[in-house]
């Protein structure tokens, strides 16, 4: 409690929370201070951890190898390419050389598209399709139901019997909702409507988790104010 940083953190927390009462200059000051400090902090981290080791140092080695004494190795010249591409990016400000900025952008888009396509296909699409090719009745669920003891276990086993059915019907109905080549009428319309219900349940679950996340943030601030600032023991 005697630590001045704890006091600064507490004052800043209360300043931000004061917005809940109404917008006020104290809140604004804390907000601007936070944005300024965060920007400066991230800029320094990126400069030290990204620009210096990945651009400045390799580029300097490349320049030294290319224009210094001795014959430059191919790897030294490759080192210069990152600097060259970085300079090209700024050519956007020159009307005559703006087209050069497309090269680094093309390299970036190409590299990330390549990674994303492989990741999505190999890591998401195929395994998710594979995991949804399921038997309609979960194997072993009949015997689980037969061996269930008590109401709670019996109910869980009974619901477990239909878990694959719900998953398969939900998946197909939701896919039909996003299938726009057929007009959503008749059987297609009813299936699409069922898909909407599944989507609503899924959005509800996501919203519930979001509320939990936001309450956790508020609780962490309360924990800090009670325990670290006021010295009231609450956790553990």
């Amino acid at each position: 409690m005697n630590d001045p940083w704890i006091w600064i953190e507490a004052i800043m927390t209360l300043a931000i929370l004061s917005y809940l009462y109404k917008d006020n200059p104290v809140y604004k000051a804390a907000e601007y201070l936070f944005v300024g400090i965060a920007s400066g902090y991230y800029l320094s981290i990126y400069f030290q951890n990204v620009l210096v080791p990945n651009l400045f140092v390799p580029s300097w080695r490349g320049v030294h190898a290319a224009f210094g004494p001795g014959t430059p190795a191919p790897t030294d010249l490759i080192r210069l390419s990152s600097l060259m591409l970085a300079v090209f990016m700024f050519m956007r400000f020159s009307p005559k050389g703006a087209w050069l900025s497309r090269w680094p952008l093309g390299a970036l888009v190409g590299a990330y598209a390549g990674l994303a396509v492989i990741g999505l296909a190999q890591g998401d699409l195929i395994p998710q399709i594979d995991s949804n090719l399921l038997p309609i009745i979960t194997p072993g669920s009949w015997s689980t139901l037969a061996g269930a003891q008590g109401l709670a276990q019996g109910m869980a086993a009974f619901l477990g019997l239909f878990s694959n059915v719900v998953l398969i019907v939900g998946l197909l109905a939701t896919l039909v909702y996003f299938f726009f080549s057929l007009e959503h009428r008749g059987f297609t319309g009813r299936t699409a409507k069922l898909g909407v219900y599944f989507l609503m349940i899924s959005f509800g679950a996501s919203y519930g988790f979001t509320v939990m996340a936001r309450i956790s943030l508020a609780l962490d601030r309360l924990r800090f104010l009670f325990e670290d600032w006021l010295g009231i023991h609450i956790s553990g």
Partner: protein, 283 residues
């Protein structure tokens, strides 16, 4: 003005006050509620329990101070259990402000079990590059992180020479398990897409509650062997390892806050429909 009309036109600051009381009360009176582990949390627990003393795990601690409230309890509980089981840890982050949080967690947990830096655990620090870094780590950790968080060359750290069958640790597959604690991008989704499928390394994840619904399908498909979602996940894990911490304490307050929100939603809807039935227009 009737009571229902007054409730409908209530200043929202009263609701903030009610929420403050609902969240503070359980903390002040040390209220505890039972926490039951979900199958996903049990999977997380069992995968860590399967590890033997001397095994090495890769810990991807991908969050910044914005995720501290939910993920710090998870990270601390995981480190506590791994150190207790004498499992060795190679930790790193892909989030610029993630390193100080990982460093602080190491410093909080390692001394409890007399763990030595470089021998029992390593902090590689932060590296920009997101998915590129993930893929490169699967090929060579040394190429991505030639030095650790303190600038020490990896080859001079004894832990980096104690991989499977005494081989040096130079790629993700030289470790037994990928433990990811993440809040967003890059995080669990990218680790699953780029590393889990490509290098076939078993993986468990602890994530922010907001992300959990997106990751449950990965558990069902077997791509994730376990998942902790938000503060509730942290509480479940703390209960399983018998180390009650902020997760368990926070969940009592969290639960009371949720009950309050549900009651307010029910009250709000009742008042809205009642007033409409009485022909009272909205203020």
């Amino acid at each position: 003005m009737s009571l229902t009309q007054r409730i409908e036109s209530l200043d929202r600051r009263w609701i903030f006050l009610v929420m403050l009381v609902a969240m503070s009360f359980p903390l002040i009176v040390h209220m505890k509620l039972p926490v039951r582990a979900s199958p996903e949390a049990r999977g997380f627990y069992e995968n860590i329990e399967k590890l033997q003393a001397g095994d090495v795990v890769y810990l991807a601690s991908d969050y910044d101070p914005g995720g501290k409230a939910e993920l710090d309890p998870m990270l601390l509980a995981v480190l506590d259990r791994l150190f207790q089981k004498n499992v060795k840890i190679v930790g790193a982050t892909l989030w610029p402000a993630g390193s100080p949080l990982l460093e602080r967690a190491y410093k909080a947990e390692a001394p409890k079990y007399n763990k030595v830096y470089g021998v029992d655990y390593v902090h590689l620090g932060f590296k920009e590059g997101k998915e590129n870094v993930m893929v490169q780590l699967g090929k060579s950790i040394r190429e991505v992180f030639p030095v650790d968080y303190y600038g020490t060359p990896l080859d001079s750290l004894p832990l980096m020479h104690s991989g499977l069958n005494g081989k040096p640790i130079d790629k993700l597959n030289d470790t037994k398990l990928l433990v990811n604690i993440s809040i967003g991008y890059p995080g669990t989704k990218e680790w699953v897409q780029q590393v889990r499928s490509r290098f076939n390394l078993p993986m468990i994840s602890g994530c922010a509650a907001v992300s959990a619904p997106e990751y449950f399908p990965y558990v069902q498909s077997g791509q994730l062997s376990g998942l902790l979602g938000g503060l509730a996940g942290a509480a479940e894990y703390e209960e399983m390892i018998d180390r009650p911490g902020w997760g368990v304490t926070g969940m009592a307050a969290q639960s009371l806050a949720h009950v309050t929100i549900v009651l307010l939603i029910v009250l709000g809807n009742f008042v809205y429909f009642w007033n409409r039935r009485q022909g009272v227009s909205r203020p």
